[in-house]
Symmetry: C2
Subunit: 413 residues, 2 copies
């Protein structure tokens, strides 16, 4: 039943994807913008109903906040479509071009994936953002949001599909999996040959479920156990500022810091200052024995704390012997998202940059910059923590593929 529904959606999505080859995709995005604006009232009403139901069911305040739309948030979501329209077309780019010795021209050209699946959690902005980015990148999209946002997502998807139909485009370029049955997720994960790329967006449990069960190509996103390592040559004031920014500016995101490593040579003077600043900002500090000895109010850090993505006002602290010990600790616990060194010593910086295996390696800048907008991509569909295909922030160029076009005059081998 769910498989049949999904197969129907995927057949439509494939047909719509073909039609996108010759479409004026920016005109379609403008149509989405207009349709969402016109449907603002029903969208907000649907969202209010979702939020009410979620509140009754006992959803936590931060989660409710993620779920909730208001007129201003909706306007911002719609306004961001204009930003995407203004971005350069990621398709039809000649990535490389050369001539075969027998005379054929070989062109490596960026082309759409085809059908992209997105599985995500409560934030309803993803419904619009993902649809818009996939459309700009020439792919049809299959959206599977959370049960708690179903009324909102249904209304958003209906508006966008009506927008496409209104300008004579195939509405099946945007598809919502209108089911809260988890079997629909399983069907998406196993739709080999029908979904060309699947991107999960959400918490660690969702990502793990997708990675464990997917038979379609997946880009793993999100988990960030990010470290800041303060080398003995660091500028203390700068290091403290980067630490506080990385830990406290927005602790619930994947590029927030989770662990502080400090060279033993500077621990005695630097660490108490850090711990006081962290505690003043409401951060719980869990430290190694030496941290405990040097600072007040520090709880003992366990092995699990060093592996944890707290996503909260908690930090694990460890004093390390030197750069080698820091590199070894990070190699053991890193999720290869973002890693920071604070140092003035260029040799230490160079080694950190060479040896740390992560999507983003920072020398004297905050881990919080690992973000599609901060990287200047103008958009972000997620942050990859795998090494295949894309690494780090993913914008439009990361959701297209390529093909080789070979133009000959009858050549044979």
């Amino acid at each position: 039943m769910i498989r049949a529904m999904l197969d129907q959606l995927l057949i439509g999505a494939r047909r719509a994807a073909r039609s996108l080859i010759y479409a004026d995709r920016n005109a379609l995005l403008a149509a989405l913008q207009q349709a969402l604006t016109q449907s603002s009232v029903p969208i907000l009403a649907a969202n209010a109903a979702d939020v009410d139901a979620a509140r009754v069911s006992g959803m936590s305040a931060p989660m409710l906040d993620r779920l909730a739309l208001d007129a201003e948030r909706l306007r911002a979501i719609i306004a961001s479509i204009a930003t995407v329209i203004a971005l350069p077309d990621p398709l039809g780019r000649v990535l490389e071009q050369w001539q075969h010795p027998q005379g054929m021209q070989i062109i490596k050209r960026s082309v759409p994936f085809g059908v992209i699946g997105i599985i995500y959690e409560s934030r309803p902005n993803v419904t619009v953002d993902a649809a818009v980015l996939c459309l700009k990148a020439g792919s049809a999209v299959l959206l599977r949001g959370s049960a708690s946002a179903l009324l909102t997502n249904r209304c958003l998807a209906q508006a966008m599909r009506a927008g496409l139909a209104g300008v004579g485009a195939d509405p099946d370029a945007i598809n919502l999996v209108d089911s809260i049955d988890r079997a629909s997720v399983t069907e998406m994960l196993t739709a080999r040959g029908k979904i060309d790329l699947l991107i999960p967006r959400g918490g660690a449990a969702l990502i793990a479920h997708v990675v464990e069960n997917a038979r379609v190509p997946v880009i793993e996103t999100g988990t960030g156990v990010c470290h800041i390592y303060v080398h003995q040559s660091a500028d203390s004031a700068q290091a403290l500022a980067m630490l506080m920014n990385g830990k406290t500016q927005r602790p619930g995101v994947c590029n927030a810091l989770e662990t502080l490593l400090v060279d033993v040579a500077i621990a005695k003077e630097f660490l108490p200052m850090c711990v006081t600043a962290l505690q003043t900002a409401g951060v719980e500090v869990r430290g190694c024995a030496l941290t405990h000895e040097l600072c007040n109010g520090v709880n003992a850090a366990t092995e699990a704390d060093y592996a944890a993505e707290f996503l909260d006002l908690i930090i694990a602290v460890k004093v390390v012997e030197n750069l080698d010990a820091a590199l070894a600790h990070i190699a053991q616990f890193s999720t290869q998202h973002s890693e920071v060194i604070c140092a003035r010593d260029q040799v230490a910086i160079q080694r950190f940059c060479d040896e740390i295996d992560a999507a983003a390696v920072y020398a004297n800048a905050s881990s919080r910059f690992t973000d599609g907008f901060e990287f200047g991509f103008g958009a972000e569909i997620g942050i990859s923590t795998q090494k295949m295909h894309a690494r780090g922030p993913m914008g439009l160029h990361e959701i297209v593929t390529y093909k080789y076009l070979i133009n000959g005059s009858g050549q044979v081998r």
Copy 2:
């Protein structure tokens, strides 16, 4: 037991991968070359034993040919290492570089994957080729060949590891899974976080098994149901030459043709000529009703024939109404490997190039050119038939990843 063995190998491989960051990788390749040359006699003896055992067990002649080495073949394998040494370093390339508004320099730099796994079938040259390419690309390699080639592979791996040790390098950069137990394959497929990239090389059954069971990032390779479409505007002589080249030059490879589509407008004059030429070359022709009507000695093609990768002197033939029908047939049966149009009509060519979703799309050139060497990559580790990460022939640039290096002076958000 097998898991423990594999874990040991993977710990060593990870350590060796780290050591490769600062290694003179071309010097290591030269050491492999020398070591393999010195071990030629035992390698050929081991291979003779493998071939004898395979012959006794009833292995087919073509398979025996794939398994067998002789002095000349081994020399060619060793000589190809020099070609790889001469190729540009795929690592440390600045892929992009820009400045963040707050002043940090952002550099996107090519870096190694880390540990690459290769699962392959009988050809022992893969043992050397894959090890050499992975090493050049800065990754340690875990090789799992077939049981029939185990003595040969063991000898090749021992020689290469001794070559590394002889120049003071970590021999664990090259690892052979010295087990014919299929559990070792399963363990590789599920070694999450320990194998960064897995490439299967072999027949359809192997690829399917890997794709179905892998929990580590995989690049699917190989299956090619490649079509040649002869448009009514085609140059008949050229079209015939491309057909014969694609079907008969080397029918057992993935870029060989499996299906011929011919516009109905030219079928009557063109098709009998083709079928005669094919039959003269020993090709069995399986055709649609019209093909049968127009030509002698044509067997009826079933739906299964149009989906088949024959890898043999068999071809499926279908007369199509026009370009649209050809595009629809290819969309239904293509494995998105290589597709060919023969035409003089530029509009038809343009549409074929835009609408066909395949790694390589040919206008008036043979599908047989889909090959890393023909594409000028100087090497090939396989031909990807997926859209994620790499598409088509894969050389050194396709087995590296990248990271972002951000150089600041204390910037925070």
